[in-house]
Symmetry: C2
Subunit: 321 residues, 2 copies
């Protein structure tokens, strides 16, 4: 049930993210033109597609899906002129992305969607030099793009509602979960959260408190198990007993002021408290906390069963003494 | 194969964490005495144990495991006097924990292990007022304690090596993954990483950028999927293509200086770079990046199959327009 208006895709820039998009588009039975100035781009991309194709088959291919539906076209103008959607994935530098996007906009169809995979830049900045900027959005995916469903969709000041609507339907049609973000901020949402962990992890390594392997172990055997099912808010809501988030904010709110991390916390005002508590209660409407706990536990048992096959042998767990 | 020297456990403080420990200890066929000053503590605990018992059965009970092996004893002195290991879980306040731990230490056997579940406090602080402080450690678990394997073990200045060794063996014997942390810091390791995400998430809600539900969705459909298998370092190592972490630090290192989050980043010195790159390479010795990618992908396919049953219906994904 792929979106009918979008049949032809052009992928600009074929690094890890660009190639991940190509794999997802091909698996969904779409035609893909790829373009990249690197000499060996086509060889690398085809090698990567060959490598992940058995994985895509395992996941399930759309009717008509074929590696043969990928073409390379070195000339950007020619590569984008017939595309219904252009996915841009050039290196994360503002000047470069703006230049490439303005070039794409010059040659793309008037009703084409021009989507940037940028992890950090705002769509208003990126569409600034583009003709018909109402076509330009951010559609930020996560590695590996052919498997992870999240895509953050952000419109700029000049992006049309129609563009957002079509993009939203299209990414859903290729089995993604589009999160529509209404406020433009650098790093969007998920990368800001990952960046926060990343900074703290670097501090721990820098201060000699832990190695990268110990930090990774502290995630995979603990909090990481819950994050595939529940985000940070629902996790804490369920740790608070019957009173949920309300109890957690009362008990652990003061800890925000402790020098636990090198990271600055916001003031826990009444307004912020209400937003957080109301948000969690709204998310869990219709089920009791006990029902959520039961679902979490059932999931964790199945997940840990699954992980027996996959968890690494780590030397940092349980044998230092 | 429960540790032979530890048969009798006392749990002091029966909130969410204390009860979680009781459930895990009982499921592993141990005798448990619980103590808590709250009037309805025993009723609440037994209700919770009844509620999770079918889950523990699903997970697999040890021979002889029984709910009947839990006794309540209101008097702390009597509760701890015969215990081989005492697990303390009173509210997270330094004065209270120090007072309770010194009381426990006064009445506990000389060769008992006294473990605090503190999420934030350092063992050297907690053992300060205790007789025979060499018995006192931090053993910090994660909710739900009866399922999540990670337990952070931290010794204080006066903790003996023998105590650490016995504790390490004991928690492994009840199917946990003890992470031995050699540097005492507030929040240990995992909670500092969670706290970092938590602070950034609160900023996003506070600034009106996203709701709690949107933030949770940004985790569960994206980065959260990888965190059950790989921590932050291995995740980035695999996102860097063939060059791994080295490439990531070169490409995204400068972004650390961008004002992406409200959180302060460490200076990316050559020393820090080496620690991170060497750490990642050491973690992945023996397998190629391609093999790690294949394992990640196989895991993600099975995980997403499993999550079809468990993911919530969320209103924030894909239908704002």
């Amino acid at each position: 049930m792929a979106n009918k208006t979008i049949k032809k895709i052009t992928v600009v820039g074929t690094g890890v993210i660009g190639n991940g998009w190509i794999a997802r588009f091909l698996a969904n039975g779409l035609d893909v033109i790829a373009t990249d100035p690197a000499k060996d781009a086509e060889i690398r991309t085809r090698k990567m597609i060959d490598q992940v194709w058995p994985t895509l088959e395992k996941q399930g291919l759309a009717e008509g899906a074929s590696k043969a539906r990928l073409k390379f076209e070195p000339d950007v103008a020619k590569a984008v002129m017939d595309a219904d959607l252009i996915q841009e994935n050039v290196p994360e530098r503002e000047d470069l992305k703006r230049k490439v996007l303005s070039e794409i906009a010059r040659y793309a169809k008037l009703d084409a969607i021009i989507a940037s995979s940028t992890s950090g830049l705002k769509p208003s900045t990126l569409q600034h030099d583009c003709l018909h900027p109402e076509r330009v959005i951010v559609a930020h995916p996560f590695n590996p793009v052919y498997l992870i469903p999240l895509v953050e969709l952000v419109g700029g000041e000049k992006t049309s509602k129609e563009t957002m609507k079509i993009a939203n339907e299209f990414y859903q049609s290729i089995f993604m979960k589009p999160l529509l973000i209404s406020t433009e901020i650098e790093g969007h949402i998920a990368d800001r959260l990952m960046e926060a962990i990343w900074r703290e992890a670097l501090h721990l390594v820098n201060d000699g408190v832990a190695t990268t392997e110990e930090i990774d172990a502290a995630i995979v055997y603990g909090p990481g198990l819950r994050w595939a099912l529940m985000g940070p808010f629902l996790t804490l809501h369920l740790a608070g007993g019957e009173q949920g988030m309300k109890h957690m904010l009362e008990q652990f709110g003061p800890a925000l002021k402790l020098p636990w991390t090198k990271l600055v916390a916001p003031e826990l005002t009444e307004t912020l408290k209400s937003k957080v508590i109301d948000g969690c209660e709204q998310q869990t409407t219709g089920s009791t906390i006990a029902e959520y706990e039961q679902r979490r536990d059932d999931f964790l048992i199945e997940l840990m069963q699954l992980l027996k096959k996959y968890w690494p042998d780590t030397k940092v767990i349980g044998n230092k003494y």
